[in-house]
């Protein structure tokens, strides 16, 4: 057996396209990829830019400011670390991209599509995580 590789994060399932995002959360930074070729931002990581096909990209820090685009309130089945009912949102980021984020800790009844959000960092067990809060 080889020694475990230190990826700089404890996210349970990642690869070399996604590692930077979880390392960013360890530093309490919300990161996206920024294409070195054309500057396009992408939140959900992918190895190449769909616009200019560049494989080169840099980490870009997001403000964490967003507006609520859609949400769901998970009730069942129970999920470890998320006392139900807990909301999850799709957020329109100030930078123009979308991002999925938790909103546990906020009353589901208070959610409104379009409401302003801000990011908050927390740990879920060993894993560095983030969630949105009302701004």
């Amino acid at each position: 057996m080889n020694a475990p590789v230190d990826k700089g994060h404890n996210a349970p399932c990642s690869n070399r396209d996604f590692d930077f995002f979880y390392r960013g959360l360890e530093r309490e930074e919300l990161l996206a990829q920024k294409c070195d070729g054309c500057g396009t931002l992408r939140t959900l990581p992918t190895p190449a830019c769909g616009h200019c096909h560049s494989l080169n990209w840099s980490e870009a820090k997001l403000s964490g400011d967003a507006a609520l685009f859609s949400y769901v309130v998970h009730h069942h089945p129970p999920l470890p670390g998320f006392p139900a009912p807990h909301p999850i949102v799709v957020a329109d980021l100030a930078e123009g991209e979308r991002m999925v984020g938790a909103m546990d800790g906020t009353d589901p009844a208070s959610l409104r599509i379009g409401m302003p959000l801000k990011v908050e960092f927390l740990r879920r067990g060993d894993v560095a995580a983030f969630r949105f809060r009302p701004a």
């Binding site: 399932c13 959900l44 859609s70 309130v73 998970h74 009730h75 999850i88 999925v100 938790a102 589901p108």
Partner: protein
């Protein structure tokens, strides 16, 4: 361009009973359904030379083939995307037969989904495949179940169209009404009311328990042959008039949130464009439809994507009774996956075959052309089936 439209036909279908505990192996379910479909068609199992199924099916082609006494398997293919696969193996069969690669292609889907594992549970995410790292990225935020992912899509749909939970209740009531007169349905004899729907527990708000398909054990198989061969067999041929897959830009597995429209819509619309071009038919030419109902509310954008009503108007189309038997577009006469069983859409293919043969329990009179769709919110597939 070579067309496969109308050059192949479903010559037979078979199914096990649908239950919550089949009491036997998944492989046995697959074999039972396959042998039943071949018997229905009047084709000896030794003639099978092609198999197509879902990547999520746990039964190896060679194991099914061994059990049915197969001789020479020349074509075997699998389609990913869970329930988005449903109609794609039909397309695989049509392509293989039209190109002369195989002559008798069996399509099966067999699962002990209730008694041996449950899809409704949080998705597993190891090893780090390209799909799993995406699931994990969303799972970090507690978005882990198909119901929550589709619920996210449907919340936005409600916001943009004005559709409400009561609109969604209308579909659940219809599915259970159709199931209530189908002896093969798990919910045979058990219709529900709008009040029952509204009283059912929340799963992933806005989705309630009675919006969710069942967890089921069972298997369905169909046999596809050339149209010429089908005309000489036991059953009325059910022609594959069109079959398509759809995965446009921005499509992801239940998480296509990074594009303008996040409804379970764009993949269906992409499949629809191909189906109508291939077949030369339009939505008004279709007498009935099987619209995939992993979650009943997804039927609403599905009706819109396949062109039966304008975008955002499904709530009115449903409220006006169009989906009832006797309405403009009866759908899911077997009770759908809410009412009959959840066999990843293959029980819907079987219902279309029965309707087109004129042998269904909840028969729509004079059905000649039907749409069958697959899971939405994922890269999907669909087919138009018809009889002379």
């Amino acid at each position: 361009m070579t067309s496969f439209s109308n050059k192949t036909a479903i010559a037979g279908y078979g199914a096990t009973e649908f239950s919550k505990n089949s009491g036997r192996s998944e492989l046995r379910l697959a074999v039972e359904a396959t042998l039943s479909a071949l018997d229905d068609a009047g084709i000896d199992p030794s003639e099978v030379d092609g198999i197509s199924t879902y990547t999520m099916d746990n039964n190896g082609e060679q194991e099914v083939f061994r059990a049915i006494g197969g001789k020479d398997l020349k074509f075997f293919s699998r389609i990913a995307q869970g329930g988005g696969a449903t109609c794609a193996p039909l397309q695989q069969a049509a392509l293989a037969i039209t190109c002369g690669v195989a002559d008798v292609v069996v399509v099966y889907r067999a699962m002990n989904e209730r008694s041996e594992y449950r899809f409704g549970q949080p998705m597993h995410s190891l090893p780090p495949t390209s799909d799993n790292v995406v699931f994990a990225y969303h799972g970090l935020s507690g978005l882990m179940t198909p119901a929550a992912m589709v619920g996210m899509m449907m919340r936005r749909y409600m916001h943009e169209t004005g559709a409400t939970e009561l609109d969604f209740a209308n579909y659940a009531v219809l599915a259970r009404k159709n199931a209530s007169t189908n002896p093969n349905a798990f919910f045979y004899g058990k219709p529900i009311t709008v009040e029952d729907h509204q009283a059912s527990k929340m799963i992933a708000d806005p989705l309630r328990l009675l919006d969710c398909c069942q967890e089921s054990d069972g298997a369905v198989a169909v046999v596809v042959v050339s149209a010429e061969r089908a005309k000489d067999l036991k059953q009325k041929p059910v022609y594959i008039r069109a079959a398509a897959q759809g995965s446009p830009a921005g499509a992801l597995g239940l998480t296509g949130f990074y594009r303008e429209n996040i409804w379970p819509y764009e993949e269906c619309a992409a499949a629809a464009r191909q189906l109508y071009a291939q077949s030369g038919l339009s939505p008004k030419d279709l007498d009935a439809a099987i619209i995939y109902d992993h979650f009943g509310p997804s039927v609403f954008p599905g009706l819109e994507a396949y062109g039966f009503c304008a975008k955002g108007e499904a709530k009115d189309f449903v409220r006006d009774g169009n989906l009832e038997i006797g309405g403009a577009l009866p759908i899911n006469m077997h009770g759908g996956q809410l009412g009959e069983a959840y066999i990843h859409g293959m029980n819907g293919v079987a219902e279309a075959v029965r309707q087109l043969r004129g042998t269904a329990v909840n028969q729509v009179p004079g059905v000649r052309n039907m749409l069958v769709t697959a899971g939405s919110g994922v890269p999907t597939s669909a087919a138009i089936l018809g009889v002379d």
